[in-house]
Amino acid sequence: MIHSLFLINSSGDIFLEKHWKSVVSRSVCDYFFEAQERATEAENVPPVIPTPHHYLLSVYRHKIFFVAVIQTEVPPLFVIEFLHRVVDTFQDYFGVCSEPVIKDNVVVVYEVLEEMLDNGFPLATESNILKELIKPPTILRTVVNTITGSTNVGDQLPTGQLSVVPWRRTGVKYTNNEAYFDVVEEIDAIIDKSGSTITAEIQGVIDACVKLTGMPDLTLSFMNPRLLDDVSFHPCVRFKRWESERILSFIPPDGNFRLLSYHVSAQNLVAIPVYVKHNISFRDSTSLGRFEITVGPKQTMGKTIEGVIVTSQMPKGVLNMSLSPSQGTHTFDPVTKMLSWDVGKINPQKLPSLKGTVSLQAGASRPDENPTINLQFKIQQLAISGLNPPLFAKEDWP
């Protein structure tokens, strides 16, 4: 399956390589670099690159390319999914997954990779098991290790690997038993320039942080499970029970995990809680254009809209922008032509706006593209789909 893994940063340096079978020369990455050059942006590097003897499958996350080398037919998603799992594991271990962090923890990274794959076939990918095998580095542990000479490698053997619930380690003990569930919902909407919604859909996830002693068996039920149009589960959730009773029944992994992600059907059109008024015009005669956007709340059910960020890709013809925001800060990068405005909270009494002029390349004709505005925002304590807070129950828990 997976022969080798190369970690490549955006400037094209291979800063980590790991081989699970015979060593594959790093020159194989030349094909990757070629493709990288051809693709103008990192996201456009094709995830699958065939070379004469190998196939390079890559994912791009945290400004790092994770390039897996394979030699024979394998479902591409298998490899891609695995690479993402690797990134998730690194994130889980080190908090962030970035080049310096990986370089600093190269030994741990190597040990983890060694455990994750055996001869190219995934072996232990559950974070609970991995953490039993190789303890994640913490400041405290580093200090202790230097003093006592102990190591990151767990001295106990990972018995979880042998159990029927491979995602949970055994012998978990907590004095405060607690379980938290975060319901995070995202609206994804395309809105045309007149303000009407073209498509909108809600995706949600339930992230859990469970710190319970022993082998708890939990159930979670929803007031209105019908809302959930399409769901996918952590492997710990019992499919059958969901199918028959619409109840989530599971033995949770220890610590943080994503219990469930769901999709709320787009049929009943979602009310978008914000609106944007825009007035962007480029004039042919002068090399100046007008730019004005206002963001305002709409149907927020009394909640404040926070973390509003507006980004917009300006046409190539735009040289610079002189804008003044009524609140927040804005930047315009004249190289990438990316305008970004960090608005912050929206105060319904005083709507934030960004006004100013756009200076265009002299002589060039009016750009005929309309810039797209991307708007991000957050609303705390509101499930836009109306999914009611789940009811939590425990079963079989001493």
């Binding site: 995830p47 994912v59 791009y60 037919e73 998603l77 190269v106 190591t151 690997q161 042998l162 492997p235």
Partner: protein
Amino acid sequence: MPGAGELLLPSSDSLASPLCSGRRPLSTLLSIKNLLRKDTAYNPWSVSFLAPLLSFLSAKHSHISAKCGPMTRHDDLKEMLDTNKDSLKLEAMKRIVAMIARGKNASDLFPAVVKNVACKNIEVKKLVYVYLVRYAEEQQDLALLSISTFQRGLKDPNQLIRASALRVLSSIRVPIIVPIMMLAIKEAASDMSPYVRKTAAHAIPKLYSLDSDQKDQLIEVIEKLLADKTTLVAGSVVMAFEEVCPERIDLIHKNYRKLCNLLIDVEEWGQVVIISMLTRYARTQFLSPTQNESLLEENPEKAFYGSEEDEAKGPGSEEAAAAALPTRKPYVMDPDHRLLLRNTKPLLQSRSAAVVMAVAQLYFHLAPKAEVGVIAKALVRLLRSHSEVQYVVLQNVATMSIKRRGMFEPYLKSFYIRSTDPTQIKILKLEVLTNLANETNIPTVLREFQTYIRSMDKDFVAATIQAIGRCATNIGRVRDTCLNGLVQLLSNRDELVVAESVVVIKKLLQMQPAQHGEIIKHLAKLTDNIQVPMARASILWLIGEYCEHVPRIAPDVLRKMAKSFTAEEDIVKLQVINLAAKLYLTNSKQTKLLTQYVLSLAKYDQNYDIRDRARFTRQLIVPSEQGGALSRHAKKLFLAPKPAPVLESSFKDRDHFQLGSLSHLLNAKATGYQELPDWPEEAPDPSVRNVEVPEWTKCSNREKRKEKEKPFYSDSEGESGPTESADSDPESESESDSKSSSESGSGESSSESDNEDQDEDEEKGRSSESEQSEEEGEKKKMKKRKKVPEGQREGSSSDEGSDSSSSSSESEMTSDTEEEQVEPASWRKKTPPSGKSAPAAKEISLLDLEDFTPPSVQPLSPPTVVSTSLAADLEGLTLTDSPLVPSLLSPVSGAGRQELLHRVAGEGLAVDYTFSRQPFSGDPHMVSVHIHFSNSSDTPIKGLHVGTPKLPAGISIQEFPEIESLSPGESTTAIMGINFCDSTQAANFQLCTQTRQFYVSIQPPVGELMAPVFMSENEFKKEQGKLTGMNEITEKLTLPDASRSDHVVVQKVTATANLGRVPCGTSDEYRFAGRTLTSGSLVLLTLDARPTGAAQLTVNSEKMVIGTMLVKDVVQALTQ
């Protein structure tokens, strides 16, 4: 030491000259070490070699290190590794691993590192393993030093240490240790711990890649591990299977159902591998579910996949289906096929995109059309994942959406493009949107496309224009709209957009050039501005092709082009020559000179293609002195009507690759890709997957069926063949219901041949439905013949066949001569076609008719009865599923044919009846009685029916449907049900014809008032314990010599009473169980036979009367 045999060989060789050969001092060392550990007779001898050898080695190394010492940077590391402090060692190892990670060469540290392989510190050890696995291949000899450590680890009591020792041992790619690895794998494969077995499975492909000669041995291990029942092992072993022997699909048979059932609990990675392997497996083992849906109406229960015919059916499959249609039987999904579909479906909800994709491709390739739709939603969900996942999923969706457009139509909006999508995703989404566009949604799609055209991403805009072109060609209604839109784009300021539009417009115009002279003119004007070669070439081609529509402009364009000819790109130059030639042919007056000018320019062009083309064109169009044969046809050559290009998706026909595979993504066969086989024409033997069922159950199933078939006159349509094994679906029971008439069977006890028979039957059963009508005709004829041997029938009824089952199979054999030929010859020997038969008269009659083809008498019961009786029979089957040893099976119908009405009394109408022992269709409490009418008068008998019965309390009758006419000499059979209310009272009723009424009565023998029950020995004992005292009737008897053998006893008992045999531990005891039909009270019969002939018969039953009578009957039967 299990490896002794293998290890001795190399060692004895090297021991002969350990030092002087000097080729492989270390392998010698290894062998010696092994010898030492073996404690063999060689021991003292080899020790003497060992000391100098070791010193030789260490000297060699110290020499090396001394030599390169000053040069290497790693001296400090070596020093650290040599210390006794674990912390220093650890530090050194960490630095070394960091070097490896960065891709730096650390191989010169090998000796220093390997020494630490047995280090106590677990992290040092692990890092040494990492190092070892990385460099062992390069330093094979030195790597051998570490082997003994791992060998010791393999014997560790802790399973995790055993596993990790095997893991590292198998990861060291040193060919010389292949035998050691092989042994270790074999041993680990039968380890107690599933985790070690999993590691063994992982080690298999490693060893295989090291030495493919071990394949056969490895396949054995795989076979063994495939049988493993733990989820932990399943994924890994299937992976090994796929890498080592994917062609050995036969290894999967026995494990197929287990894999299907375990699937949901296997870890995600294993699921992916198993699902894709099972997809391939299913393609070889099951019939295509889409092969002939037109016939589905015949099977109402399968209506759920009989939905609308998909227009997007592959041409190949359609042809195949059409060709096969006349011969094909109605499609019945194999229960195992259904099992796979059912068990994979919940995995669509997996969090892993790879699993979802695997299930999606499984459904796409294996599911009936109407069921494929379920995967759409899950695939659309994956579109919210990482962009790489989206990329792969969209590629697959693009392929699927060509074949099954309807599936994704509801999700059209999910494929709308977001400005934040990477270009490659945008283009794939466009592809899908284009595939999904149809008459109804095209306005929406086009509106969406219009927005895209204004995007800043030019590649994407170009792709959008192409997509519009494709929509326009596919959907005629919007062609003009699209064309207009594209023409407007010609005034776009971006040249790329214009160029792309030109290319697309060219293709569209080719479809209807006549109406679009204006557009061509417009395009002609563009030649002044547009610089993109492809676009210029397209315009020139258009003008040339349709020069008659623009007769004034065309020469002028050529003039301009001639002027700029030298500066044009090659592709444009070629089109200029083309244009010149076409104009010369149509309008030579104006363009003759221009053409010659262009051709002269081209003649001296740098590009040889252009020079060639010019020479060629000149010869064609300008008649030369001797040529002219071609030039006469020049017009035809150049101005022939050309077919419009078909704009089709690049994803068309990609589905011959297994979806979700790398090969599909690349649209090229990747190394190691396993072709997805086509569906077989005929389903291979499904019984190969039977495993869990112990053999005897199968046999009895088989035999039981035969019992069912046996009543020759019975309602053959109601007959069913329990072809599926015990663990198959209930639905299959009805699917595989087969007509007894067409059954072939053998009375063999060997389970193997039974299996074969069984599935032949199954196939037969499927076909029989269609053949039924013919058979019916034959059966009628048959009836006539049957009358003849009536006399013999009685005579031979006393001749009790000991091999009753064989006789029954004989009777079946008559059903189908064709089948007979197919049957293996072996069974025929065992079943001599003698007159040995069951006591039942009807069987005997069959034997006489053995050589006739038609199987049995078709009852005249109407179809309604048929369908209900089918269900009832199936019920009966499960009830009667008794585990009898086949050779001990009973004949079916206990009491022989009894006379109901003598032909003299009946004025030519003779009526007999038999107890068929089949559950009666309408009412399970009724005994089903087959009534046989034959008309021996010379006038037809009309309107045969049952008249008002005068019945004792509780007894009820289900009358047979009226027989309209029975012509002279003809016979027929009807079934009626009588509820005797668990008593032996006679049922009196009238048998009426149009002219006469006959009073008749049927009195059942007590043995017919019950139905067999399947139970285990323990259950039997338990039930027997409850029925003691008054409920127990015991009788002592002496068995005559003739009836002391096992099967005679069993046969006699079962002939007397309709009971099922219960397995019994002791040899001299026979147990039978049944339930009375009306009240369902248990009837348990035990016969304790001593070898001397003395026997004791015990009947336990709540119904004491029945018990007493039964004892009497059985004793009588046995002592006769």
